[in-house]
């Protein structure tokens, strides 16, 4: 078993590596997911090729590293199984466009549909329709309000990210013996439910420890908006003890602002777990000391579980005969100590 496993990993890893090198050589900017972001089931009978499963897949064509990683991971994971065929449609610019794309998918009668909806509320009706047509729906990341609209929901823990970030910050401040700390927050797009959940988890946890956020300046998940939000925050708070920045992509801009303003008196916690953030944390030469995960590897897990659902199998570590209905990933805290373990999951 183990030799089989290591050979499989070696082969796939080697293939991914050479593909990566090849792509880097040609187009310079394409990124292949690392072997660790996708993973064939390792134990039991689940990794044996079984009944052929056709999986329909749809995710928004957003211009953000995280969404790009979601799509890349799903495709790579499907490619790792000989018994999975992935039919992928781009979701377009909004919920209406995604609905249109998904209806073409339904007509191709896949065994399972995996989708990352623009907005779970807006696509709830689609989930109901597909389930009614006998196609199990795996909802990735953005919850459907109606439990009948999905067979499985697998998502990150936005509230938990806030909790994890606040817990880490409080611990560090306590260890340093800072009283009355000044805590800043740079969330992403403020109108999104996920941002509000992250901020609520952060504020609730801080409040339970008798702390509060001194100032929060939202950005837009982009590096340039992060840079401007951070610059605003620095003007408002002449002295800062800790900052939570929700997103590592916009964190590139936040770190740039830190250098430009020459403000190094505080430490920062990131969010999502990008490769660059993990490298910065491991190198320990910036104010970024930790990041809380919201990993796009959930797309790979979703494809694996969709395959099991299509084949009528359960998860081999659970006693249950079928895949569970809901899975919420834990938000983990990555620090200098454990960064090397997580680096392979970075995007």
């Amino acid at each position: 078993m183990t030799s089989d496993l290591s050979r499989r990993r070696l082969l796939f890893g080697g293939a991914a590596l050479s593909a990566g090198v090849l792509l880097a050589g040609c187009t310079s900017n394409e990124q292949a997911p690392t072997a660790a972001q996708t993973k064939a089931a390792a134990t039991g009978a689940n990794n044996e090729p079984g009944k052929k499963v056709t999986i329909g897949f749809s995710a928004p064509a957003a211009d953000h590293g995280w969404i790009a990683a979601i799509t890349n991971n799903a495709k790579a994971q499907a490619g790792a199984y000989s018994d999975v065929e992935l039919k992928s449609v781009e979701a377009g610019a909004d919920a209406a466009a995604q609905r249109a794309a998904l209806s073409t998918l339904i007509s191709q009668k896949p065994d399972v549909i995996v989708l990352l909806p623009h907005d779970g509320k807006e696509l709830n009706a689609f989930g109901l329709e597909a389930m009614k047509a006998g196609i199990p729906v795996v909802n990735l990341d953005r919850a459907f309000p109606d439990a009948r609209a999905y067979r499985l929901q697998i998502k990150g823990d936005n509230y938990g990210m806030g909790v994890a970030a606040a817990t880490y910050i409080a611990e560090q401040l306590k260890a340093k013996g800072v009283s009355n700390p000044v805590i800043g927050e740079i969330p992403g797009i403020d109108s999104l439910e996920l941002t509000q959940e992250r901020s609520k988890g952060f504020a609730d946890t801080l409040a339970s420890l008798g702390l509060k956020v001194a100032n929060r300046r939202p950005a837009e998940f982009t590096a340039d908006s992060g840079q401007q939000a951070a610059t605003g925050l620095f003007q408002a708070l002449p002295k800062i003890d800790a900052i939570w920045n929700h997103d590592d992509d916009q964190g590139i801009g936040v770190l740039a602002a830190v250098n430009q303003a020459n403000r190094k008196e505080f430490f920062m916690v990131g969010g999502a777990g990008s490769k660059k953030a993990m490298e910065d944390i491991a190198a320990d030469n910036t104010v970024l000391k930790a990041t809380v995960t919201y990993s796009p590897s959930m797309a790979s897990s979703a494809i694996s579980l969709a395959r099991l659902i299509g084949q009528g199998k359960g998860m081999s570590d659970l006693v249950e005969l079928q895949v569970p209905k809901e899975i919420v990933l834990a938000s983990e805290t990555i620090t200098k100590e454990n960064a090397s373990n997580y680096l392979k999951l970075g995007f």
């Binding site: 990124q31 957003a62 982009t222 590096a223 401007q228 408002a236 002449p238 801009g253």
Partner: protein, 369 residues
């Protein structure tokens, strides 16, 4: 824009007696004298009056800042640093706004500026370009900006597309291309020279502020001291009369959009340096910021009038408002509402001050035919 029907021409000319194109040498000389009288801009003092109003607004904003955060404003070194920060935050949009001011004075509009900044930024940070060093990155950003501007101009003047439509299409297409080139990833700039543009100070003042000052100065000279500037006002005020006066309106329109594109290329380098990276979603909604700043600065949305200094003050007012809300910890939603209110107020003042409502309506009818 360049093909207004001849029947509309007299009406338009009637609406703008002061801005009839400088056809004969005497007219040109007169325009020159008034330009010398007011260093703000040669429109007989109206621009200067407006700019004093904008300065007063700025003073009010600073006073609000002093009243709400006396603790911060009590520290002289913080005040100096904050002023530089406001100027730094205004610098990128400021450069874009200079180009936008030319386009709007020339009777057009450029909705694609934010997308051009993103495309030029992404182009200059692709690994392929980065391997040529800072020179290659700067060259590619400027060339891409200029090229996209020229395409805009050609579509509008020779393709006869309405500027709104042509640049709207470019806005969508350029962001799409930027996403394609960057593979939807945030591209980190590893070039120390490029990144240094944002962190370098010369004589205690950030380099970005010097770049803004240089672009503003160049724009001011171009608009107020050259034939190009006078032609821009003529083309925007009355394209048909400008054509009859011998101005190559189509070529001039292409040049205006090219200028706007070039400004976007410069802004892309500045923004990439600030964020030490570029991505397809960067410079989001800069088109609206630039248009809003130009309009509150006194540029007439239907063309024919506007000042560079006014636009600059418009940008600085917006960046001061952002700063004011940040130092008081107020939400960005409230900030956007205030911004919206200021734009409406500025346009209302503009209408009351410069033409009666009926003239305004008549002019609008003429423009839309």
């Amino acid at each position: 824009m360049s093909d207004t029907t001849p029947t509309a021409a007299p009406e338009r000319a009637a609406g703008l007696p002061a801005q009839s194109p400088p056809v004969d040498p005497a007219e040109t000389a007169k325009a020159d004298t008034s330009a010398r009288l007011s260093w703000w801009r040669g429109d007989g003092g109206e621009g200067a009056k407006r700019n004093i109003g904008l300065l007063a607004t700025l003073v009010v904003l600073v006073v609000i800042g002093i009243l709400t955060r006396p603790d911060l404003y009590g520290d002289a070194s913080w005040v100096w640093g904050n002023t530089l920060t406001i100027l730094k935050l205004a610098s990128v949009v400021g450069v874009v706004t200079v180009g936008m001011t030319f386009v709007i004075i020339g009777g057009g509009i450029d909705l694609s500026v934010g997308a051009i900044v993103a495309l030029a930024g992404v182009w200059c940070t692709t690994l392929a370009t980065q391997s040529y060093g800072a020179g290659g990155m700067i060259f590619s950003a400027l060339t891409v900006g200029l090229a996209v501007g020229v395409v805009n101009g050609l579509l509008i003047s020779y393709g006869r597309l309405v500027p709104f439509i042509a640049t709207l299409a470019m806005m969508v297409a350029a962001r799409g291309l930027a996403a394609e080139i960057s593979d939807k990833q945030t591209q980190v700039s590893n070039d120390t020279f490029i990144n240094g543009i944002a962190s370098t100070n010369v004589l205690g003042i950030p380099l970005l502020v010097y770049i803004l000052a240089a672009v503003v100065l160049a724009g001011w000279v171009l608009l107020n001291r050259t034939t190009f500037g006078r032609r821009t006002v003529a083309v925007g005020g009355n394209p048909e009369a400008a054509r009859l006066a011998g101005i190559n309106v189509r070529r001039h329109t292409v040049l205006l959009y090219a200028l706007s594109g070039l400004c976007c290329g410069i802004a892309a380098i500045m923004l990439t340096a600030q964020a030490t990276s570029a991505q397809a979603a960067m410079a989001n909604l800069y088109e609206l910021d630039a248009i809003a700043a130009a309009i509150i600065g006194g540029t007439l949305l239907s063309g024919g009038r506007g000042t560079i200094i006014g636009s600059l003050l418009g940008v600085i007012i917006f960046s001061t408002i952002t700063n004011l809300f940040a130092i008081n910890g107020l939400s960005t939603e409230a900030q956007n509402m205030v911004k919206g209110g200021i734009i409406v107020a500025a346009v209302l003042v503009q209408q009351v001050q410069f033409r009666s409502l009926s003239q305004f309506l008549a002019r609008n009818r003429a423009t839309t035919t």
